[in-house]
Amino acid sequence: MRNLVKWGATAMVCAGVVALAGQASAAEPIKIGAFLSATGPASFLGEPEKKTLEMYVEKMNKAGGVMGRKLELVVYDDGGAGDKASTFAKRLIESDKVDVLIGGSTTGTTMAAVPLVERAGIPFISLAGGVNIVEPVKKWVFKTPHTDRMAAEKVFGDMKKKGISKIALISEDAGFGKSGHDQSMLVVKNYGIEIVADEVYSPKDPDVTAQLTKIKNTPGVQAVFNFGFGQGPAIVTKNFKQLGMTVPLYQSHGVASKDYIKLAGEAAEGVRLPAAGLVVPDQLAATDPQKPVVTAFKKEYEAAFKSDVSTFAGHAYDGLQIFLAAAARAGSVDKEKVRDEIEKTSGYVGTGGLVSMTATDHMGLSLSAFHMVEIRKGDWVLSD
């Protein structure tokens, strides 16, 4: 009787092992590994990122690949969970033997993979915003999106220009919003601005009028800044309008996708936020080096998926391009060489801005990469 139990257990373990072993294979192509949050609360980051990577890998393979080698993409969905991300990162490194890691849609999933990436020694380009991904600098870790700190700085800069000195902060209590909140608190003093009300909400709250009422009743609030993504900011925007609040409403770069405007509807009129040039390609100055890049990317993405491009898709595009350029310069996918070349990336024109990395800056973007945009008549309007 007891033996049966054990045999059963053995069989299960063996079955699992066989199933896992079936996944592993090695081949000629350049292998790109990605772990993204294609499902879960951050799926609207991971989903476009995944689609972008798949589209461009296919496109490049049709064009004959890179350095005469085909590209092979392996993507896993971590569902936004750190522990899953860490296991998938290990799988990509150890089993799939990829040449580069792209991913971590969120700061949490990225950071969960960092310890083993550093140990394994493989170039890793994160698509998440958290500033702690690249500060302090980690040898193998790079990132393409602007940091949440930069978003905060851009917003505070804009406020300062408008003579705003007392604001309310309302943020989502999940990864993106929380990290943005903490970074905002850190840099806000540099702009002579005081945060007089600090409220949070859960990503799936049906209603945040309570928090906003509290803000409304706080004396002296000259503007409200909302840090969050997903449906939360849209609900904040609607409730804001409902309460008849008239001070300017700022959003973060987390809502830089058309979905936000669609969900929030008319209430989104007049909302200001920092965003990459990607959302307003036509309005960029003709001399802007980004203009051709973002125009082309937007066209290709929207043609392929029949949906509006978001800046998150752009992060994945930039990550892929930065890696491929570095590999081309290195002439191989030798991990050490590619890493060195990524670090030497200079003047790359991406969807997120001009990227020039150094040994002390593994992101390479400056504040100029951000534009302030305002929502007018249901569309983005450049408003620097």
Binding site: P206, D207, T209, Q211, A234, Q242, G265
Partner: protein, 291 residues
């Protein structure tokens, strides 16, 4: 000062009415089968997603809503027929796992059949806020209250005034006796799932203009609905409604007066305390163990 309080109250009532509708679905199925259906939130999600997708595809809104309700009911019936019915005599925990499996499946299926994006429906009667003594309320919130009220009255009528409704109630009190007088327990179970799927879908449709929806929207609503049903006392429809309203109002007042970061925690602490002193919820049947 009073205006702020009123605003918190409105906020809480809006959320609370949504939770109450979710909780009511739990209560109906629990009454008929003593099953806690953790896929209840998925009915709400399907109602919202289906109607929003249909409207986006150009179907007129009333038709889209009716279709969404039918889809959700079909899912409810299928769930009962293929997943609950075959496992009727299993342990409570086993059935819980089945319904959790069902909710994972339904989320997965929605994500493939429809998509992963957020959807919204136009508000039923515009988006001009209504001012009440310095506080404001969206017309859609009134819709939610009204629909919740209509649902409650409708259910009361169904369970107390129709033969079939009475039969369903009888089954919940004593399954054997109900069988003896010829009430088909199977039919009752099926009806209870259809009914709570309908209820969930109605809820999903009316709240979508407020909260939006995507394939994962059911998780939170399911959790809050369960909390509402337990707080009110399992199997007590009115209890679930009051439980939902309490949870919503506590959350709103907590974020207004205490801490918005801990509002969910505060709501749970209150539920815990209620349970410590009233182990069967606020209005649950207080059964002494017969030994």
């Amino acid at each position: 000062m009073f205006a702020a309080f009123l605003q918190y109250l409105f906020s809480g009532l809006t959320s609370g009415a949504i939770y109450a509708l979710a909780g009511l679905g739990f209560a109906i199925i629990y009454n008929a089968s003593h099953v806690i259906n953790f896929a209840q939130g998925e009915f709400i999600m399907i109602g919202g997603m289906a109607s929003a997708t249909l409207v986006a595809a150009g179907v007129p809104m009333p038709l889209a809503i009716v279709l969404a309700l039918l889809i959700s009911m079909a899912v409810g019936v299928a769930l009962e027929k293929f997943a609950i019915e075959p496992a009727r005599n299993a342990d409570v925990v086993t059935i819980i796992i089945i319904t959790i499996g069902a909710s994972i499946f339904l989320r997965g299926a929605t994500q493939i059949i429809l998509d992963k994006e957020f959807h919204s429906l136009p508000a039923f009667s515009g988006e001009t806020p209504i001012g009440v003594m310095g506080a404001t309320l969206m017309p859609q919130s009134l819709w939610v209250f009204a629909v919740a009220a209509v649902m409650i009255v409708g259910l009361w009528w169904f369970f107390n005034r129709t033969m079939f409704g009475k039969a369903m109630l009888a089954t919940s009190h004593n399954r054997l006796a109900a069988q003896l007088v010829g009430v088909g327990v199977k039919k009752v179970l099926l009806a209870s799932f259809a009914l709570s799927a309908l209820l969930g879908a109605v809820g999903g449709v009316v709240v979508t203009p407020i909260t939006f929806t995507n394939y994962e929207a059911g998780i939170m609503l399911g959790l809050k609905g369960f909390s509402a049903a337990v707080l009110g006392g399992l199997g007590n429809g009115g209890g679930a409604i009051i439980g939902g309203l309490i949870v919503g109002i506590v959350e709103a007042l907590a974020s207004g007066y205490l801490s918005s970061a801990y509002k969910d925690a505060i709501a749970f602490v209150i539920i815990l305390f209620v349970l410590f002193f009233m182990p069967n919820g606020l209005f649950g049947k207080r059964g002494t163990d017969r030994v």
